[in-house]
């Protein structure tokens, strides 16, 4: 018998699923982050925490800017090259231009709503360029459903109640997100509770709390993941 009798994410009888090792969100690939609800800063916050240090090209279409606001420098504390564009197609071509440049550490595009411009072909172009350039490329999708895409990792991010502040229990503390990796190349889909460790500037992945699974209907683990 091998050392790992069950693949990642598959529960043996009556036990919790084996948590897969956390992925590398800063890998030089195309990733997509889907927000789950309006006013949730989970997807931009997760992407911001996953970016490597350096100058980042941040392109937004008009609707994302109107509905979710613009990046705010004092809260982000990152060097940004901001692009305020109008159409999702412009965002995609700006990302392609950014991936050809050697001056950037990462490129991020935000698209609101279903975008016909972001077809499978367009996402595949971005994925190939990101891998050729060795830069992480993130697409933040607001108010959109996952459609066929060549993104190597696809996340669904929901806000969770924050970590209690040790000094003031009434105040919101460090943010926490429920990150569901619902599609990834070469690994099963799974769910984590993610925190941003500001001191070490990295993402802490931990298994979601047990009672959450007990509260849900007992489906096969693979079926719930779209």
């Amino acid at each position: 018998m091998s050392a790992r009798p069950f693949p990642f994410g598959v529960a043996p009888f009556g036990r919790a699923p084996v948590p897969a090792p956390p992925p590398q969100p800063a890998a030089p690939i195309l990733s997509e982050a889907f927000g789950t609800r309006p006013l949730a800063g989970a997807a931009p916050g997760f992407v911001l925490a996953a970016l490597p240090p350096g100058l980042v090209l941040w392109a937004q279409d008009r609707l994302s800017r109107a509905e979710f606001g613009a990046p705010f420098l004092p809260g982000m504390g990152r060097d940004l090259l901001r692009l305020d564009l109008t159409r999702p197609a412009d965002v995609l071509s700006a990302l392609e231009d950014g991936l050809q440049s050697r001056a950037l550490a990462a490129v991020v595009g935000e698209i609101h709503g279903p975008a016909p411009a972001l077809s499978f072909t367009a996402s595949r172009r971005l994925a190939l360029r990101a891998e050729a350039a060795g830069l992480p490329c993130w697409l933040i999708r607001h108010a959109a459903r996952p459609e066929p895409s060549a993104a190597r990792m696809r996340w669904r991010l929901a806000p969770l109640p924050s970590v209690p502040d040790p000094d003031d229990p009434q105040a919101p503390g460090e943010p926490r997100w429920l990150a569901e990796l619902f599609r990834a190349r070469g690994r099963p889909s799974s769910t984590w509770v993610v925190r941003h460790d500001r001191a070490a500037d990295r993402l802490d992945f931990s298994a979601p709390p047990r009672d959450r699974e007990l509260a849900e209907p007992r489906d096969a683990p693979g079926r719930r993941m779209a």
Binding site: P44, F68, L73, P74, G75, D79, L85, A171, H196
Partner: protein, 440 residues
Amino acid sequence: MDSRAICPALHIEPAEPERDAARLARLAFWARRWGPYSTPDGDDGIILDTTGAAHLFGGEAAMLAEIQAGFARAGLTARLALAPTRGAAWALARFGPERAICTDPLPALAPLPVAGLRLSGETLLLLRRLGLKTIGDLAAIPRLSLMRRFARAEPQDNPLVRLDQALGRAAEPLDAPEPAPEFAAEARLAEPVMDPSDWLPGLLADLCAQMAAADRGCRRLCLSVFRVDGERRDIRVAMAAPTRDPGHLLRLFDGRLERLDPGYGFDLIRLAAEAVEPLAQAQPGLDGAAPTGLALARLVDRLAARFGAQTISRPLPRESHVPERAEAPGPPLAATPAPPARPDRPIRLLNPPEEIRVLYAIPEGPPAQFVWRRQTLRVARHAGPERIAPEWWHDRPGTRLRDYFRIEDDSGLRLWIYREGLVHDGRGGAPRWFLHGIFA
């Protein structure tokens, strides 16, 4: 109407002096295909400085013939003259022989009438009464008596000044509305074409070689096409840093050439470098790639050429407590590092803030519940208030202070809301609440 009654076939065009002047100015630019400086001259003339340009067209006579043919193709009749001074050319074009070429002004101008000296009607009348009919007559008068006779005349109406200008004794520089480019490359085509893209790489290579020889780079590039119907169309691209890389410059024209209106085609393409700056030779890396600072400038150029320079910015911190003034769009190549993130500031800022409707207001705290776009949010945790006063040196009088709260609702949404004003601050009615930011 009376004229129409007499001659029914009469064709009437209303006079439009302003449109004529504008058309003449455009035509003056178009005429720069034969010389680097040109300017409209009066209501009906164009002055073109062709110094050192005639050999490009096979001599002065051949150049004049080509200029006349060019205007004829555009549907215009032109009377041309080539002379060492502006005044002599003016006189010869209007009163001299067809396509006059003069090397010495005095013998060429002597038989012409004095009207060739650009004088007003009153002065001409006076000269005729004095019996001075030709320029030669006037030039034969002693200077002193002319000076005495016309001592009170304006300079542009003084026969002596005009005569000196025509004969080259007084300078009369050409005040061109747009200086001639320091570096330019041209392609003259035998037949009018509609698309300049095939010629662009060669022109760029030529221009960049010229600039490299002089250790110069340009920050603006102007592609002009000279249409056969007497119009000129320009496309300008701008660069964030001086450059002379033909491959990079060529990509800046991507998608711009389609918007060029070629009319009936054009037969001259000129590429001119503007805003020329010194640019030393840069050592490329061992892998043949450009240095990193240059890579950013090129990315900015490409994005600005495609989406417009106003879309691209680099947020820079500013000393202000008012959130919307705490950052300002800076130039894309700014080298200021960003300050570290503050946990009490949101990562997203809504512009403008969205008003929310508060259901249960607590006098000195955040609302227990509020409605944002018909969606009720229940505040579970909060921190604050953080009071931010208006900046009296910026804001209008009567601007209300803001009390900011960081709140978290029971599902984990972390938001930044504020109350504008206090209840009895004398600056308006009941305070209103706004949603201003989104935390991670």
